[in-house]
Symmetry: C2
Subunit: 236 residues, 2 copies
């Protein structure tokens, strides 16, 4: 499997390109609209054909490239609740398996950061990759104070789902703000301060008192992302 | 082998942490001074002990953390021409092998971007990693118009050394300005515009007409890096 991590600097977003070497089919996870030309260039240079583009959730800090990618490549677009995102081809749900050539992407429903948050698990030989969206970050987690976030749900998504994966599972998040690129489940169990609270109640207390400012693009990004990246006075 | 890629956003620098799982010894390649605390944190969290810190060359766009790391960890510091960098413990030279626990780092002399440019080649099982500094970038190369840069030397370093490595060798550069993180020798041979000129003369012509502005930190960074990261009115 071909795997490439790509960084969008304005929102510190990581986008992932996965490609199947035999069929040359590819998928993008969490693509950002400003990087569209770079994705098309890389796909072409690697001789890959984009068949699907996925968002782990409706992002509040950048505008998705899903709509633009579908226009340019006719790929399938998938987000959590397709009913609320009118241009997504398909919705995501727990247990769904997305096939991209020989790559099988297991869909995990992991609400908490938002109520439409999903993670993607891919196995390549003995190697497991978790694309953890904003649910599990390197030494952090997504916040839970907007877009139907819920700290109790996040606690369950972490402790009763993601942390049950084998310790050597690679964790590839949707963001990192300190320049780190990857972690593992075992490493996060040992070092992530958000996984330290011993009880659900203590975690909820922690999350409800973070007092974070809103993302600077939130008022633009959330409505635009519900239209697959089309802004009110945009290209749509 | 543990390998981590770390990104410093101001100068778009990639720093690499390599760690030997058995001995827990580690090395940093191209560390940036502003990230010192993050390196020490990551080393501690991964239970690694820093024994060496290397620069691929004297950088013009950021200040090295070599001096500060040596003060904090007593690691060995190595740069190309140690005679010109008075606080480096050791110089680098073609053919040298740096041992960090069970990791063997082959030193390749690759002048051209600067006259003190080196690359590092590491083999882990069947996997080869080239830490290519500014000599070979993803779809680019370092410039050759200052610090004793020389396009003819760069042409030789690329075509008579790096491109002779197997096509599946991973290429991890010191910078990327478009958010891409890794490539391979085969991919660069196929796609890198700087590798297109068919003759040395055409490459020299290309490199001599790039007409690039100087890096914004050049006047500060080069003298500071010759003092291992100590600025005139700095912490030295």
């Amino acid at each position: 499997m071909i795997i490439r991590q790509l960084f969008e600097r304005e929102s510190s977003t990581y986008t992932y390109l996965l490609g199947d070497e035999a069929s040359r089919e590819a998928v993008l996870i969490d693509p950002v609209d400003t990087e569209l030309d770079l994705y098309l260039r890389l796909l072409s240079e690697l001789d890959l054909r984009l068949v699907a583009a996925l968002d782990t959730h409706v992002h509040a800090d950048h505008i998705t490239a899903l709509g633009a990618l579908r226009e340019r490549t006719a790929c399938t677009t998938m987000v959590g609740f397709a009913g609320e995102v009118d241009c997504a081809s398909e919705g995501l749900e727990e247990g769904k398996i997305i096939r991209v050539g020989g790559i099988a992407i297991d869909v995990l429903y992991t609400p908490g950061h938002t109520d439409d948050s999903f993670c993607f698990l891919v196995q390549d030989g003995a190697t497991r990759y978790l694309f953890s969206g904003d649910t599990l970050l390197i030494r952090g987690t997504g916040r839970t104070d907007f877009q139907n976030g819920d700290p109790a749900q996040l606690y369950a998504s972490l402790h009763r789902k993601l942390l049950l994966l084998p310790d050597d599972t690679w964790v590839y998040p949707a963001h990192d703000y300190k320049g780190w690129t990857v972690s593992t489940i075992g490493e996060e169990k040992r070092t992530n301060p958000r996984l330290e609270p011993a009880t659900e109640a203590a975690f909820i207390e922690l999350m409800n008192n973070l007092d974070l400012p809103n993302p600077k693009m939130m008022d633009v990004a959330v409505p635009a992302n519900r239209a697959c990246g089309r802004q009110a006075e945009g290209r749509g």
